[in-house]
Symmetry: C2
Subunit: 458 residues, 2 copies
């Protein structure tokens, strides 16, 4: 039975690719209102794809932001209920000039599909939709009661996701959530993710004079917002990149000993890491355990961008009136996003020099860190299915990134979430030239069939 569905999917691989290309041609950038039409179009695309996969109930759930797409399959008596999570929104495509082919013109090169959002998360979420369609096309019953919840605000920190889940807890009710989002750690090492960092974000805007001033007339006497903001931001870290903000990490709990142990066993090669990201090797070279601990288990305060004054061609002798920076923090277990936010605001207000006005843009709500119950039976099933397909037992890893959904589902549906995604974390999903390995897109089809079969007890 499984073999039939798997064979059907293999026979229709070209069609699946065309559907993925059509999905990726939609510019569904959630962080920028200019792309509003693309968001709506992508939500409709997902709803239509689910309908074509034979799910009897498909609907858009409106929120104060972008809509979610909910679908429910036919009732399979006696089978468990599985809710598949994914997101149809994507990161902004800029800097556009760094793309080899345009971000919303999907292009295959060397068995990879290049497009914004293809790896995060359009490819991975399309897999279970196509798997459901294969069962329908083969006139086979699905092994489980299948539900889908595909949101459109993941890349903006899912601001309306929790309220949507809370308001629809009964309809969304299930025995398990499987997230099609959350990349595998490394392409050459099967892994399952059991923990993620939280997130909180803010913008800082500093104002000096009412307008940009001529640096000849005013240089030396007028406030320079770029100079002042830079001085303020430079106090956030020490020379080694440790966060110096008072109260920032006060509530951080010690890391999960299992993950600490995993890090020790991984033999992470830092020289190779810096080669892979194309950065000059630092001196002294940090150790592998230290670097991985910083990636997975230490909270961060990152400057994601800074801007102020003139940045065009040539020179412009202005004293900038305004300068701003974007900050995001990755949080570990125990840290409260609101308290972290407050600690940064208080720090910057304290170090602000006289003669300037300081504003913040609040991108909350933030997200707490998340970890999965290590004894969840579905976790072992996921490891079994991947081991069968890949020949090696997947290791359990933490991730530095944030998937807010885990804690939301735990709180409102009282179920665990396992991550089952076929993107890998080297696929440039927040950078130019995002791609998805098409071998993983095909592998994922087989893996989802086998996972659903195992969860259905077949």
């Amino acid at each position: 039975m499984t073999a039939t569905v798997e064979a059907h999917l293999a026979a229709h691989a070209a069609e699946s690719l065309r559907e993925l290309e059509a999905f990726c041609a939609i510019a569904s950038v959630s962080t920028d209102p200019a792309y509003k039409a693309g968001i709506r179009e992508a939500a409709e695309f997902v709803a239509d794809a689910l309908r074509r996969s034979g799910l009897p109930t498909v609907e858009l759930i409106e929120t104060a932001g972008h809509p979610g797409v909910f679908a429910q399959g036919p009732e399979i008596a006696g089978a468990p209920t599985v809710l598949v999570y994914g997101h149809y929104d994507v990161q902004p495509p800029d800097p556009l000039d760094k793309w080899q082919t345009p971000p919303f013109e999907p292009t295959v090169r060397e068995d990879r599909l290049y497009a914004r959002g293809v790896s995060d998360d359009k490819g991975p979420l399309l897999i279970p939709i196509l798997v459901a369609r294969a069962y329908r096309d083969c006139r086979k019953d699905l092994p489980v009661n299948l539900k889908f919840l595909i949101e459109g605000e993941e890349e903006t920190g899912s601001p309306h996701f929790e309220s949507m889940v809370a308001a629809n807890a009964e309809r969304f009710g299930c025995d398990l959530v499987i997230s099609a989002d959350g990349a595998m750690w490394r392409p050459d090492l099967p892994s399952v993710t059991v923990a993620g960092r939280g997130l909180v974000a803010l913008d800082v805007i500093l104002h000096g004079a009412a307008k940009d001033l001529h640096s000849g007339r005013h240089g030396g006497s007028a406030p320079n917002a770029v100079r002042a903001l830079i001085g303020m931001l430079a106090t956030l870290h020490d020379d080694d990149g440790n966060v110096l903000v008072e109260g920032f990490a006060d509530d951080a709990l010690p890391p999960d000993p299992a993950v600490v142990k995993a890090i020790q066993g991984l033999g992470f090669d830092t020289g190779r890491y810096f080669e892979e990201i194309g950065a000059p090797a630092p001196e002294p070279m940090p150790g592998g355990e230290d670097l991985l601990t910083r990636q997975w288990l230490i909270p961060t305060l990152e400057l994601n961008g800074v801007t102020g004054g003139y940045s065009g061609h040539g020179t412009k002798t202005v004293i900038p009136a305004t300068a701003s920076a974007k900050i995001t923090c990755r949080l570990v277990r125990g840290q409260d996003p609101d308290r972290v936010f407050d600690s940064i605001v208080a720090h910057l207000e304290r170090v602000k020099p006289s003669g300037y006005r300081l504003d913040f843009v609040d991108h909350r709500p933030g997200t707490s860190a998340f970890s999965i119950d290590p004894d969840l039976p579905a976790l072992a099933i996921v490891q079994d299915v991947l081991q069968d397909l890949l020949g090696a037992r997947p290791i359990r890893v933490a991730m530095g990134a944030t998937i807010p959904i885990g804690s939301v589902f735990e709180k409102h549906l009282e179920v665990g979430t396992v991550f089952f995604s076929f993107s890998t974390s080297d696929e440039d999903y927040h950078a130019p030239n995002e791609f998805l390995r098409l071998s993983n897109f095909r592998l994922g089809m087989t893996a989802w069939v086998r996972l659903l079969e195992r969860l259905g007890g077949r």
Copy 2:
């Protein structure tokens, strides 16, 4: 005789305004290659205006950059030769969204003409061209042998100006240069400028990883070019804005005692200054002498702009691969632009953390500071003409800004330069909504007639 010319100019004020509007409609931005066509058009406009003013010799002088416009009037036997300097290029117009009316659609509001370049320097340089035309129209001989040299690279630091003057020293030869560029210090206080600061400029570009990285996966381990550059730039100044770069001011000479004395007598109102520029009042409020000394007599290192990572709407969780800053320095007497440049490069290379690559964009040649011989007879004549017209004796002031031409003319033509401009330094000439007071445009016509008459010994 003077009265006739002055009356003619007054009667043709509307025509003069139309000609200024047409001139300002040309987007002659010299700092950005995208405006190349506007540069050529403005040069042709100036040449045409000079021809219509009856100057028998008018020609474009090509350089490796933008052309200069040279013109020579009819020979007036026995009269001195005066070379008028100005520039037809303008600053970039951005940020465009801050303009009340578009920068290249000149608009009159409340007897001010708003347009990019109207104050710096299109209005002031058009005045002597229109004055020459009035003499021609009235069939009066000019009081002096009049030459014009109007360049197109002032806003980029006049990189080809010196070689142009050196190559044409004989043709440009004169007894005196009068600069139509160089704004009056304050609208309510007649002044003549006797000194200006020099200038040197560079861009700093810092590279970390080969591309922007996801802050979830890489946050804590990957180099963040924005954080590192900010840390480096923050070491350039102390908390009071004093430059900390080793060797930066080693060659600075003590200021001209006459200017120091002028500062002490001015009673500069710092509270009013911060009000005028729309900045929050600093605490403690600096004294007037201190602030003016910083504007006129202390070298600066200004951050004109900084950029890196994401600065669009919302959040983007990237670790920026690249960050850059634009720096210009205002120099005082004695400082060598090359040595200042080298000191900044050496400082930044020394504080660059490991794991990054540092690049510079060299905007040299720079310009040394400049000061006029206080005993130049023309300086007293300028003061006399202004006193007659304005009722008060103009004070002699320094300026923080840079006019590279003074030292060039002194070196290659062996003549002094006096500044005779009818813009004032509050006219937002490097900011949005640049304007020129039309009352000064009209006053300037009368003043130039009287100055030429006095210089001609009439």
